[in-house]
């Protein structure tokens, strides 16, 4: 039985409002015993990782994995338990998505948009934060194309998000 994973996607720039949500999500994910997957960089990725690492005691199954675009740890945030350098550039976005059982989008620009797209084509459940600037807000509650009928799940608070995540895992 593999450890359950939740991927958090969002911008690498530092935006306090988004980082605050991300950090709280990281805490809740770790407390629930899920492992956090991100693209390993700063901004939303760093804040979520920092949150997860701050949980004490942290469940054994609540690690932090950063899947990096480069060939080494360069550009990684300092809160990763595991660094997976892929060396495939932005194509690593596919691997972030495939490594996550559930995806949570918090704001985000073009990079995040490519990850939402991948999440869609690879049939991952996608939670999207509203009330924030970025693509998670634009797409929350919507479908990306006709190939799936389940819209991106709109969430407005970390507490609501973690509740949805637990429901999805318990349904599987």
């Amino acid at each position: 039985m593999n450890i359950k994973t939740v991927g958090i996607i969002g911008d690498s720039a530092e935006k306090p409002e988004l980082n605050s949500i991300a950090e709280k999500m990281g805490i809740l994910i770790a407390k629930a015993g899920y492992t956090l997957i991100t693209g390993g960089r700063d901004g939303v990725m760093g804040a979520a990782s920092r949150g997860a690492r701050s949980v004490d005691p942290r469940p054994e199954t609540a690690r932090v994995i950063g899947i990096m675009p480069g060939t080494d740890e360069k550009g990684s945030n300092p809160y990763l338990d595991y660094i997976i350098p892929t060396g495939v550039g932005w194509a690593r976005n596919q691997i972030v998505v495939l490594s996550s059982d559930i995806i949570v989008a918090i704001g985000g620009g073009a990079g995040t948009l490519s990850e939402i797209s991948y999440s869609w084509v690879y049939n991952k459940p996608i939670l999207a934060f509203t009330g924030v600037e970025g693509w998670s807000n634009n797409l929350a509650g919507k479908v990306i194309d006709y190939k799936r009928t389940d819209p991106l799940i709109k969430v407005t608070t970390p507490e609501e998000a973690i509740k949805k995540i637990k429901e999805i895992f318990s349904d599987q």
Copy 2:
């Protein structure tokens, strides 16, 4: 001096309205002596390739290259001069974009959306067809995020698109 390339991105499903635009674009691109890049499959990709191949006489620099997700030619349309099987799944979308000097989006679902996102992060000029169903229409005239200030270039007819393409190439 390398041959100039134009990438056409869009859905692999057969939608007559989109295919008709794609086929016309393929013809105009080939007539102008540009090589066509696509994801090598059917729908918009196949129609554009068919258009390019139909030009007679076809300029020597007007080839048709399909960059495939799989490890062989399976699933490719029959109009490709060159098949580049990548074996990297949807991550091939990054390579479609990087191989193209200019990107033209015609409709499109989640796969196309990931390609538009990659085009944005890799700083490619992007033309987006309006008046059709799909992501090219949703994003035409808009910016994806704050990292670029040039919106996706809105086009409504193949003739307008090829004119823009020629302008972009002559500016470079």
Copy 3:
């Protein structure tokens, strides 16, 4: 501070002699508190993973990560804590190597040979088992090309290998 990782590479076919070495290596790696990285499949990869998982109590830093060629867990062995599906086929061999601080080759065919090649170009320390059938034996003690002067480190027993691994980590 990231958790130290050791990658074990070798054939996915079941060869008792190689599996026995791999399983022992997995045990020693886990006991030493290192996380095991493999390509996630059977044979040498499965045996090493089984070994690592069998350690009880297992140090918190001794997880088992399988980096898979496909887009899901299909074909994975049942001893993985984390599955990283890459969707990039054999190109995942690059990611197995990049995710590992040190590489240990046990026998191996063409897939393993590509991983040894990647380990070389990405400057990873490489331990190679002798006295077994396969590429680790052919290349132990040799250099692959002129770009590095340090030959593949020849090892004959798991005990000798873990000793070398500890030395390498303590030198860093």
Copy 4:
């Protein structure tokens, strides 16, 4: 019907003996109307590309395609008709191989060795030059592992190589 492609793999360093073979191979491949695939860089790749481009008149089907590790044309040799930047680093070696109907190895270090390995696992016919320094010589006439029974085809001159290539294409 797609254009037939031959991939030439070898070192990016400039070694006169290897480059001379590569250039001659490029000429013969272009004269035969096959398109040349390489990793797009210098050394053997550059020499083969230069040879192919020098053929005058050059058959329409004899283009030169360079499949690059980076995200743009940086590091490419000046003899490419088409540049396919993959952005996936050394993982582009998989794509060089998959894009080629037949592989010709001329010398080569670790990078070339990874390409020979990929050629083997992807069931490509492989010609290997003997009488030169590097991995093509080490492996000519040998099998890489038990999964195929056809050894790497030993060749000693470009003339012999092109004869074999024509035979392989006519058998298909």
